[in-house]
Amino acid sequence: MWAYAARRVVIGVMLLLALTLVTFVLFFASPADQARHACGKQCTDEQIAVTEKALGYDKPVYEQWGMFVKGLATGREFPADPELKKTHPEFITDCDAPCLGYSKTNGKTVNYLIGKAAPVSVSLAVVAVVLWLAFGVSLGIIAAVVKGSIIDRGIVGLTLIIYAFPTFFLGVFFLKFVVVKWGILAYPGYVSIAEGGVANWLNNLLLPGMTLALVFLASYVRMTRAFVLESLGEDYIRTARAKGLTSRRVLFKHALRAALTPLVTMTGIDFASLLGGAIITEQVFAYNGMGKLTVDSSQAWDLPTIIGIVVVAGAFVILANIIVDICYALIDPRVRLG
């Protein structure tokens, strides 16, 4: 299994590097003149050229990418200007390996920015995943067990209606009504556990977590329902019943074990993609997580940050895939890694 994991990690790293190369190429293929943006108004061509050099955008794309990869391995200094380092060592920002780059837009290393943003996205993802699993799976099981009844149709219909609303709408609805109009909850703003304790952290994550969870709720209800129904139709369920097991035991021990296995995969991948940032939810609630960072850096043509996010978010997904596959092998004895 370890050899398998190691091989997957190596492939994953190569995939990530390829991904960064693609991002570099796409970035420079855009019609926007990044240096002109950064330089501001009234910049002469010479000034733009200086800015371009300072941002490192003057070098060929592959060379910039090479420097980025080298920075990942050995770390970098910003600005990489030996002369400036001599005269003004205090200007130089060290970026230790694995250095993801330096964002001129933010005046910080990308590592720092992601270090700040990731806990927000992780918190949001954790709260959301707990909410949607708790409600999605149990509602899905209920719907499957009472299949065809009013309750089943109610659950499926209601979650579909919720699903039909855009995330943006749900988030704004919560803010406008739950917070501003009814004053039930305070205006949420991310508070880390270290700053405010678990209760405060959770309280502030409730609305955004709910918004995000509602996005996934419908699909998890439907998937759970479908998987449970499929599993209940399996021959081994008939065997289990023929053995004289109670229907509770048939459901929980035999049907769910099989039904929830694909959900583990789904949850793993969904959770990992959320670690890379829930763009709309974070945007609506001004949660400065990976999603918000993605939007902000895209709008500011902040290539280093975009690349850093690609790497980290991509790594989350790849890692999650590996973990999910290993989990799968542990859950399902038929699966052999290799």
Partner: protein, 581 residues
Amino acid sequence: MGKKLLRAVAASSALALGLGLAACGGDSGGGGSANDEPGEKGGTLQYLQSFLYESADPQRIYYGVQLAQWRRVLYRGLVAFPMDSDPEKATTPVPDLATDTGTVTDGGKTWAFTLKDGVKWEDGSDITCADVQYGTSRVFANDVIIGGPNYTLSYIDVKDYPGPYTATPEQQAEFEKAVSCSDDNKTVTFHFNKPWADFNQAAAGMMMVDPYKKSFDEGDRSKWKVLSNGPYKVEGGVWDKNKGATLVRNDQYDESTDTPDQLRKALPDKINWVVNGSDTAGELFNDRLIKDAGDDQYAITSARVTAQQLPKVQSGPVSERYVNVVSPFTDYLVMNHKKLTDPKVREALAVSLNATGYIKALGGELVAEPADSIVNPGTAGYKPNPAFEGISDGEGDPDAAQALLKEAGVKTPFPIKLSYPKTPTADKAMAVLQESWNKAGFDVTLDGQGDTYYDVIAQPDKDSDVMWAGWGSDWPSAMTVIPPLFDSRPNISKTTCGNDYGCYESDELNKILDEAANASNVEDQQAKMQEADAFLGKEYAYIPLDNQKFNWLYGSKVTGFTTTAASSSYPELGLIGVSQK
């Protein structure tokens, strides 16, 4: 006002405003209605900001609203614009850190300022000429101090100066000759390579010649650090881009070196400056102000009331806390001179413009007023452009346009591609223009574009015929409107037309602009700019559309809510206080 903010405004305000409104509530350029009582000191003001700053470094700030508001609380300038309801006074600098508004010699090429005694940084050290010199020099380091206005680079009489960080001693000495200090380190003298008649306006409106303490400088790492010399300081010394900061009183600030009634009353003891960069933050901030509960009673916001909210604030108690003002942002159409070479065709577009319908489509007179020049009325020396008389507030004359097209001898319907940044409101407004032009013998294709709009229309080989654009001046002088938009020399190169989106090139205009630039006093300069505008009007190089209007709301415990020309029509932070009753 930085263009970047303008872009934000252009994309998100006038064109994004959706609802047409029965008009009421005229302009109130001056004070807030219920708060004429003299403000009292003390209390905590809540400032709700709905966008993110780009920097807290004075030499890198380019957002107009940030420049105007931080001038009142954190960064004093050599000179500053007074908080006056009279636009003319509000656009005329008064002394701030300096003892006067500058001594001009050498036909406008030399400016000298002497610093007041007792002006200090928040760390207690004196502000010296060397600080002004250093601050000015930083702008030259385009490789470190990226962003922020660059005007000084083309004026200061120094060659090949790379900024203070990498300059050789010789280069540095050269710069310190161009921006020199007196022996007592009190008087700074700027030597320019050409006259700069409105330099003190630039110095008041922007921070490119603000002092900066060398020992505080960490280059790019200083981006979010604040060393204040104003009445407040940032708690912790660092501005959090995504969260904002708390401003508390700066005990090193000496009111006696200042003119509080003119420049900054600094009434609240504390300003709780909350930043929320979410797209919906502005609307929600105003929802909270409408509700007026708890701390929000003490709140003002950088976010304007949205079109959907406008009906809610027109009547009842909330209308007492509502202000509608003309902003310094003007929208216009610019013709692609590479394609529409015939002035008759351009004139036909102008005379058949349905300006009234356009403003109605934007949302009516609460969100925009007709513009009769590309120069905003809040600009010093503004004068309506005679070419657009009867056009800017008319519904368009298709017959006259058809006659012009006939005269021009072009085949009709004449195809026109109209480009603009796409929003639902913009689509509606542009459809109005399309309709009126189609009646006049054009065949208009609408071309709504995405985020890279300005990059696309800057390209010399674009196929747009007419482009929508917006502009706000960097300081209230037409010098920051017409030359940056129509002087072909700094704008046009092989790869770009810069801000001269129509790729307009005219030696005749450039000559007028040079004369204006070389004027030794502001009056002559303003006359030249009016001439330049009239020339552009005759050429139909552009068509003015509208001056955007701002709609503001504030909490019931806020006193002295005002907007002025000096505050870019944003809340005038220097006058605002909170009631402690």
